[in-house]
Structures are given as C-alpha cells and as structure tokens.
C-alpha cells in the first residue's frame, strides 16, 4: 500500500515538473580524456543527480588527463550546476588536470571565469580551525587572565578619573548627571517596590508558619526586619539595578562604541572614562543606598502584611517589635553593602560597554556579560562584606 502511494506521488510530481530531470554521465576514451555529458534541467530546488558517484568516478586512479564538457542536452541551469562545475574545476587545477570549458554554455563559462579569479588576500594571523581540547583550555585560561587584567586596568582608570574629579578637573556634563540620577533612581522605584514587598511577604509567611510551631509568632517581625535590613534590601536593589541599569549602561556605551562616538570623544582629548563612566558611577553610588532604604521599608511592609493578616498580630505589636529588633549598626551594614553593590553594577556595566566590539551582536553580548559580571561580583562582595563586618565587630 505504502509503495503504491509512493509511486503515485512520484507520478504526480513528475507530471507537474515542466523539465526533464538533471543528468550527468562520464565517458573516458583510451587516452584518458573524460567527456562529461550534462543534460536536463539543473535547478537548485530539484533533486540533483548523485554527484558523489560522479566525483568518485572522475578522480579514480589513474585520473583523467583532461576533461571536456558536452552540454548539448542541457535544458536549464542555475547556481546548482555552476557551483558543482566550479568545484570540479578547482580540484582539477589542483591536480594539474586540463579543463576545457568550450563545451559549456557561454554564461556558465563566464561565471566560472569570475569564480576562478584570485581570491582576495586574507589578513594573516586569523586561524579559525578547531583547536584540540588542551589548547582550547589553555586559551581560555589566558583569556581569563587577560580579562582579570582588563578589569583591574579599568578600575585603575576609574580611580584616576575620580581623583581628577575631586581635584575639580574631570570633564563631564552636570546636566547628564541629573538625567542619569533620575533614570537610575526614580524610574526604578516601581519595580523595587514590587519585588521588596513580595520578598518581605514571602519571608513573613514562611517565618510565621515555622515560628507558630513554637508559639513565637511575634518574632516574625525580628526575622523579617533583620534579614531585610542587613542583607535582602541591598541585595534586591543591587540585582534589580544590575538587570535594569547595568545592562542599560553596557548597551549605551556599546552602541556608542559601534557608532565611533567614543572615538570622537577620544580624538577631542576627552577621556571617555571621565565623560561617560564617572557620571554613571556617581549616579549609581549615590542612588543605590537611597533605593536600598526604600527597599527596606517596602520589605518590612510586606512582612508586616503577612504577620498581621496570616499571623494575627496587631499592627502596633508588629512595628514595635520591628523597631526594637533593628539597631543602627544593622542599617549601616545594609547601606554600606548597597553602596559597594552600586559601584560594582556601575563599573561592570561600563566596563563591558567600553569593551564591546563594533557590531550589534557584540553589544548584545556586552549587555548579557554586564549583568553576569555584576551578579557574580555582588555575590562575592556580599560574602566578603559579611566577613569584614564580623571582623570589625559591626554585626
């Protein structure tokens, strides 16, 4: 049954095809001269003849001394045929076999001539062959070292720029700084409200369920208050800013790189680090602690919602307990963390933007890489800061 259907579809499709199928055949005379007879319609969307078989035949030892073509039966042709003939011609030339193209239609001959002119010189020093594993591993290691070096160099440049700003010599536009402050700070409020409120709510809900088992429901206020103020508020703010602002910085600077805007600054003698990176760093370092304070309040609000609605505490009870639990040094810890995280997001975003290549794809990579770099360093810094706070007795 299935065979029958197959045969019928063949019949139908053959009936629809306006041209005879493509054919190719070889004939070798005793002197080793091969005549390649090409016939039918060669079209890219039609089934090509089995060229591998022809190839094998053509180049079996002893190879032909010369090749001629007979295209008298050729009905139609397009790039499918020309590209095959071009590859045959290339290989023949490599082996020193003469190819006589006179038997081919004029158009094909012209295209073959065009394709066989000397290819443009490639810049040397650009090899892309697959590397063996060890070599790739080594290359990755070298790349890692280099990128660490680049990060350090960039931080150095930023430090120098900060110094010249303190000396009052840095060149950037104050108006741009205000725009950035607005973009970084005010515009981030809605998303930060939402996320901190929900995180507070979740903490409160889970905390309440656990503490209820010991009849210590009131302590949910301590749990939420402390975790939000010491860590979560700053962390939420930093991660939102990494995704929102750090990525935007990388995309802005990357696009400026593509448009040669950064070159235009350099040739004017304006340092791109002073002009572009410094205002972004200042805006983020100034705004992150403020946003973190706001995130703290929203988080506590979320926690109180759980404590009051689910845990049945009274609002006065909850807030008195919270105020009693939180000490100034907890708030200080959170704000110091937030400031450090803000600097990390700004530096990562700007670094990746400045390093971006000169294409749309490179800008995309820079953006992704900015977010990844920020988050990795935020997590590392958060661990480091915990140890430092402990060591200096702040916790």
């Amino acid at each position: 049954m299935r065979i029958l259907v197959g045969a019928m579809t063949d019949l139908v499709s053959n009936a629809v095809k306006p041209y005879p199928a493509a054919r190719i055949a070889l004939a070798r005379d005793p002197a080793g001269r091969v005549t390649v007879a090409i016939g039918g319609a060669w079209q890219l969307d039609a089934d090509p003849p089995d060229l591998d078989r022809i190839d094998a035949e053509l180049f079996t030892e002893p190879g032909p001394t010369s090749i001629v073509f007979d295209a008298s039966d050729l009905v139609a042709w397009d790039s499918g045929l020309v590209s095959y003939l071009a590859s045959v011609a290339w290989r023949c030339r490599e082996r020193g076999i003469a190819v006589q193209e006179e038997g081919l239609p004029e158009g094909i001959q012209a295209l073959l001539r065009l394709a066989s002119t000397v290819p443009e010189r490639r810049a040397e020093g650009r090899d892309e062959h697959a590397d063996p594993f060890l070599r790739r591993f080594g290359q990755d290691f070298i790349d890692l070292m280099r990128s660490t070096g680049e990060i350090l160099a960039f931080i150095g440049e930023v430090t120098l720029a900060l110094r010249s700003m303190i000396a009052g010599r840095a060149r950037f536009r104050r108006s741009e700084l205000w725009l950035l402050v607005e973009e970084v700070g005010a515009d981030a409020l809605p998303i930060i409200s939402l996320i901190s409120f929900l995180v507070g709510l979740i903490l409160g809900y889970i905390g309440d369920q656990q503490l209820a088992q010991f009849g210590a429901r009131i302590f949910v206020a301590d749990l939420v208050g402390l975790s939000i103020v010491i860590q979560m508020g700053a962390l939420i703010t930093a991660i939102v800013l990494a995704g929102r602002t750090g990525a935007a910085f990388a995309a802005q600077l990357g696009t400026m790189q593509v448009n040669e805007e950064i070159d235009a600054l350099r040739t004017l003698g304006i340092s791109p680090v002073e002009f572009l990176v410094l205002p972004r760093l200042i805006a983020l370092v100034a705004m992150t602690p403020l946003l973190a304070i706001y995130a703290n309040l929203m988080g506590i609000l979320g926690g109180s919602f759980a404590g009051i609605v689910v845990g049945g505490l009274s609002p006065t009870e909850y807030f008195t307990q919270t105020v009693a639990a939180i000490r100034w040094h907890h708030i200080t810890q959170g704000l110091i963390s937030a400031t450090v995280f803000g600097a990390i997001v700004a530096v990562s975003g700007c670094l990746r933007g400045m390093q971006s290549g000169r294409s749309a794809a490179a800008v995309g990579e820079a953006t992704t890489s900015a977010v990844v770099t920020s988050i990795v360093f935020i997590v590392i810094a958060s661990a480091g800061l915990t140890i430092v706070f402990d060591a200096i007795g702040l916790s």
Binding site: E120, R121, A123, E124, G125, R126, R171, R173, E176, Q252, T255, M256, N259, E260, E261, D263, A264, L265, R266, T267, L268, G269, I270
Partner: protein, 270 residues
C-alpha cells in the same frame, strides 16, 4: 604659531603664513607601519603633508586607509616608525601632550559619529564647553554659526537620529571645525551621498581650507572628489601592503609609471 591651551578662543586667527612659503611639512610619516595586533596592514609609509594642502589618502577597498587614519588621529599606535606633527613625534610624547595635540585636530568620521544623546547644537558646543572660557551665550552663537556653515542652523535642536545620513556627515564637519583646528581629517566624506551633496561637501572642504588655512587630510575613493579637491595624495596598495606613490592625482593619472595607480585614477582606463 599661537600657543594652544584650553583657553584658545575659537575666533583666534588661523595660521596666517602663505602656503607657498612653507617648507616644513605639517605632518611627516617616517617608516610607519600600521596594523592590528600582530597583523601588519601597511608598512614603510614615509611621506609628508604640506601645511595648507588638501591631502588625499587613496587606495583600494581594504588597503588600510582607515587604519592609517586611526593612527594619524591618535586612536591606534603604529607598530613601527614615527608620526611627526610640526616636527614633534606624536606617539613618543607624553599622554597629556598627545591630548593637547589631538585637540588641535578636527575629525569627521565616516558615519558622523555624533553623540546620540545630544542635540546637534550640543554636539557642536561640547568641544567649546570643554576647552574654551566662552560664556554660555557665546557658545550658543558659535555653535549656531558653525551649523550655519554647513547649512543646518535650522536643525539646532534636532537629535542625530532625526536627520538623514548626509546631514549627519555635515554636522560631523561642523563639529570637527568647532575649535578651529589646524588639521581636519575626513573619512570618506562623499561615501553614501548623492552626487550634488557630495559636490557641496567638496566645495565646503575647499572653502574651509581657504578661510581657515587648515591642512586637510581626506580618505576617499571618489574620483570626482579626488580631482576636485586634492593638492597631493598617497596611494596605498593592499597586495604589496605599502604605499605605491605620492603626488598630485592629476599628474599621477597622466604620468605615473605604475599601471595600477593610473588604472585606479582613470577607472581602469576608460
């Protein structure tokens, strides 16, 4: 030569000596090689650019014209050799001297390279804000005047994304002229422009040379504009990776002994 500090007002008189009396070249290249990383693109480039000339860098696509220009404007250190401006080696100088030198160059980039977050007026005004002591109102006047020179004073408050490619190039010229530079560099000024706008830009280049007395270095493919503006030129070749010849393009077209150069300048001998 007036001392050029950050306080140089943009209205300061341009170089006033007549061009004919200049023997010392404004820019001199001494066995310069340029390229990226290990890859050499052009080597052994030695030529001078006379003060006040319109000097054209020509050559086939991919021959390294833009690369050479990046080295001349201080964006890419050459792999070997020296580049001298007014007899002082640029790349051997200290960073702050280089910065000072670069400020006296105006650069028009192929795509305009306007700062996209600023209006056209702010684009032209930024160099003035950074390097002059002009009052805000004066800066506004100078910026509008420079935009008027390229016929765009009506577009002061437009952003670069709101104007056409040709207009962006003209704003690029206005910005390059903002600080009345000694040397103006143009990368492919006529590429992507219609014949009439290209012609207008050529005229503008010549007029600016007349009025500012600045030296102009122009990278271009465009034969019409090469013959219209060039006093002198250098021809870079991709195959041999070096310069083939220097000289006035009209003379080269008639008398150069190298066939490739004659062919290039006559579109393959039409």
């Amino acid at each position: 030569m007036s001392p050029d500090g950050p306080t140089k007002p943009p209205s300061a008189a341009p170089l006033s000596e007549p061009i004919s009396e200049q023997a010392d070249p404004h820019i001199l290249l001494d066995a310069v090689s340029v390229g990226y990383g290990e890859t050499v693109i052009q080597r052994d480039l030695s030529f001078g650019v006379r003060r006040g000339d319109v000097f054209v860098i020509m050559g086939g696509s991919g021959s390294g014209k833009s690369t050479l220009m990046r080295s001349l404007i201080g964006l890419l250190a050459p792999q070997a050799g020296r580049i001298l401006f007014d007899g002082e080696s640029f790349w051997d100088a200290l960073q702050h001297e280089r910065t000072r030198r670069m400020r006296r160059n105006g650069v028009m980039y192929q795509s305009g390279a306007l700062w996209s977050s600023m209006t056209l007026e702010e684009n032209v005004a930024l160099p003035l804000e950074q390097y002059t002591n002009l009052r805000r109102s004066q800066i506004h006047e100078v910026a509008v005047y420079k935009l008027a020179l390229v016929g765009l004073s009506a577009y002061c408050d437009y952003y670069p994304s709101e104007i056409s490619g040709g207009m962006r190039k003209r704003v690029g010229v206005a910005r390059a002229m903002a600080l009345d530079p000694d040397i103006l560099f143009f990368d492919e000024p006529s590429a992507g422009l219609d014949p009439l706008s290209a012609r207008l830009l050529d005229d503008l280049i010549l007029e600016l040379r007349e009025s500012l007395g600045a030296t102009m270095v122009v990278v271009t493919h465009d034969l019409a504009s090469i013959f219209a503006i060039a006093d002198d030129s250098v021809f870079l070749d991709a195959a041999t990776q070096t310069m083939l010849t220097t000289g006035n393009p009209r003379d080269l077209r008639e008398h150069c002994e190298i066939k490739l150069v004659r062919d290039f300048l006559s579109r393959g001998g039409e």
